[in-house]
Symmetry: none
Subunit: 412 residues, 2 copies
């Protein structure tokens, strides 16, 4: 059983948008043992759409179309596929009812244009969209091929796929077993990681190993196949363990948790709380920590002390220190960490101050210089970093290093 993914939307043929839904779907399909052999991006053009679906159905057993199910004129997936398969579109009153209810819940009246989204090709099964108006559509051809149409917005696509498509696909999927594992590493450069683990993973053809690097994080992806689930899992676990032993506690996650999730978990386990005072990261650290549901259990909050005045007024950094040492200094980082810790009444306090650029660098403190401090009751630890890259990358590196400082403290 082979699959293809067709991402639909003229905007993805512009320089501004890239299809990322296919990454999620590829992952889901891989777990089912269904390889994706081709991905296509095509515009909202009826003839192009019919051609691309027709070609895909000649090659593959499962063709998933994403997007183009919106209410407007330039959403043409529904019509094009219905025409290709020779299925007239019929309005589903049940879909209309669900859409009207959805609009009512948000206190709005459904615009008439939305009625287009209730059109269902004859013989198709529509799949409820709990997070939007366009339902998914599941069709089977005479040749026993499957065409699945999904809405484009990820918050609609993902739940719809997991809730209504997975079970149907699982019953059709081959009986081959797959297993995957992701190890995440922080505090090491990609080349260091590679040097330590290449001699290990190169001796394995199965599992396959892939390294992916971003600012302050290296991910090691393992993918094993086997005669059964136990066999595949065993292969992945064996290599995973060898790699972990080589890297030690630079590995912060062996499930797929983010660093902010891991730090949250450790804080919960220790019954500890955290508060942060961030300057150059401007709220990014708080945003990352609070992106985790339930973070209010351990995160008390913080101050975005972008101006010197707020460093003094809200976190208690002495004006004289700012004058003497400069806002970007180890002393100010520590004063921020200690100040926010005591003001918030938290177990741990983090202070960040640095030069994210592009302006503001000096020979002494070039762009990328960031001081990060972690304060406990009776001591503080402060680290000076020099991060590469642009403003965005430097800020990402800085929050990654700050979270890692907290993680390492809680590891002990």
């Amino acid at each position: 059983m082979q699959a293809e993914i067709i991402a639909i939307g003229s905007e993805m043929l512009t320089p501004f948008r890239v299809d990322t839904n296919s990454l999620y779907l590829t992952d889901q399909l891989e777990r089912l043992g269904i390889p994706v052999i081709r991905k296509t991006v095509v515009g909202d053009n009826r003839e192009h759409l019919k051609a691309v679906f027709a070609e895909a159905l000649q090659r593959s057993d499962l063709v998933i179309g994403i997007g183009g199910l919106g209410p407007t004129e330039d959403d043409r997936t529904r019509e094009s596929v219905a025409e290709l398969l020779g299925r007239p579109l019929e309005r589903s009153e049940e879909v209309v009812r669900m859409m009207r209810e959805r609009f009512r819940a948000f206190g709005r009246k459904m615009p008439e244009v939305n009625l287009r989204q209730a059109m269902v090709p004859a013989g198709a099964t529509w799949l409820p969209n709990d997070n939007g108006t366009a339902p998914g559509l599941w069709m089977e051809t005479d040749g026993e091929k499957i065409v699945l149409l999904l809405p484009g917005p990820p918050p609609e696509l993902k739940p719809l796929f997991e809730e209504y498509c997975l079970v149907k696909l699982r019953s059709r999927a081959p009986r081959q077993a797959f297993s995957t594992k992701v190890l995440k590493v922080t505090g090491m450069a990609e080349s260091e990681v590679e040097e330590k683990i290449a001699p290990i993973y190169r001796t394995y053809k199965n599992p396959e190993t892939t390294l992916l690097a971003s600012a302050g994080e290296i991910q090691i992806h393992l993918r094993g196949t086997g005669a059964d689930a136990g066999d595949a899992l065993r292969r992945v676990e064996e290599l995973g363990e060898r790699i972990e032993n080589a890297l030690g506690d630079a590995v912060f996650s062996r499930g797929n948790e983010s660093l902010e999730q891991v730090v949250g978990l450790y804080l919960m386990m220790r019954g500890a709380t955290l508060a942060v005072a961030e300057s150059c990261t401007g709220g990014l650290l708080g945003q990352r920590i609070t992106s985790v549901p339930g973070s209010s259990h351990y995160f008390l909050g913080g101050v975005v002390c972008y101006s010197d005045k707020l460093k003094t007024k809200l976190v208690g950094v002495p004006e004289s220190m700012l004058k003497r040492k400069g806002a970007v200094s180890a002393e100010v980082a520590e004063a921020l960490a200690r100040g926010i810790r005591s003001r918030a009444g938290a177990t741990l306090g983090v202070g960040i101050t640095g030069v994210a650029g592009p302006q503001g660098g000096s020979p002494d403190k070039p762009v990328g210089t960031v001081f990060i401090s972690l304060a406990e009751a009776h001591r503080a630890k402060t680290v000076k970093h020099r991060f590469p890259g642009d403003r965005e990358r430097i800020r990402q590196f800085a929050t990654q290093a700050a979270l890692n400082l907290v993680r390492r403290k809680l590891l002990k």
Copy 2:
């Protein structure tokens, strides 16, 4: 003249990698007036490769293949395309010489496997790669179609394209001029925007209009063609103006500025400063504002008052109010806005409090309920919202609405 881009590499059929080279090439081709009608990702498989190039050549005048030109066994683009076009591969001694020199410059001896990269299909023109070993390949078919093969790494692809392909393509490109414009809208739903502007843009075949929606933002992309640059620009400006008139000041950008850039610009122009107290957005608002270089000129900072304690301690929200009205209330939002404004000594203060979910909702204040307040010296304006979607989307909506509140205040 129409183009297609084929990205080649099995790694791009995994969940971990996305093709971004095509964004660069799409931009370059658009400037030449050559639209990209399809993008495909295919693995390093000889049969799949031959099929995808054969299909593309039936539809399009220019087919660009990216990647799969490396020295190893699993790089099969060169062979597959040569076979498809019936051109035997011949070793180019000039390419061999250049490759050997390149290795010598890095103090290394060229491995024998690299000789594969010197194989050139009969009749093809090879294009020097100044930043890697694989040369580009330019082929023309009897039907006057062009096949261009480029190396995958962006630092090799981009200079090679600009240095050796642009001129050749420009002489083939249509004598037609292009112009594009992006209008960005906030504070309206996609369907509302569509209802207002569809009757206008539908009367134009040129420029083409595309709508792109994300949480709290609708982008309207216009793309016009004309006999010359002035003509194309005129067409785009005319439609752009009509659309703007229909939408009024819901349009916040007519260049490609983000909402946080526009708000920053307005603050600068007015000599005003801003401070924020955010609860459910957890730092996202600060992070967005400070993502703009130079934001320290107008952004003083803020408090991420995730806990009630910090709302009281750092922003001065009365404990009694929190008890009586609840942390998620219009009163607390206003107290946050007023409190942070006066503490920071800012011209404007913003307060955000809400339920981002997934937990914490109640019948009275369901997930997605967010109060946003904007305080000036002698008054405050507070708005209650109910945003749809998951935690991430609700937080994005909330910061968008907060920035828009500031923008609208400064518009007056």
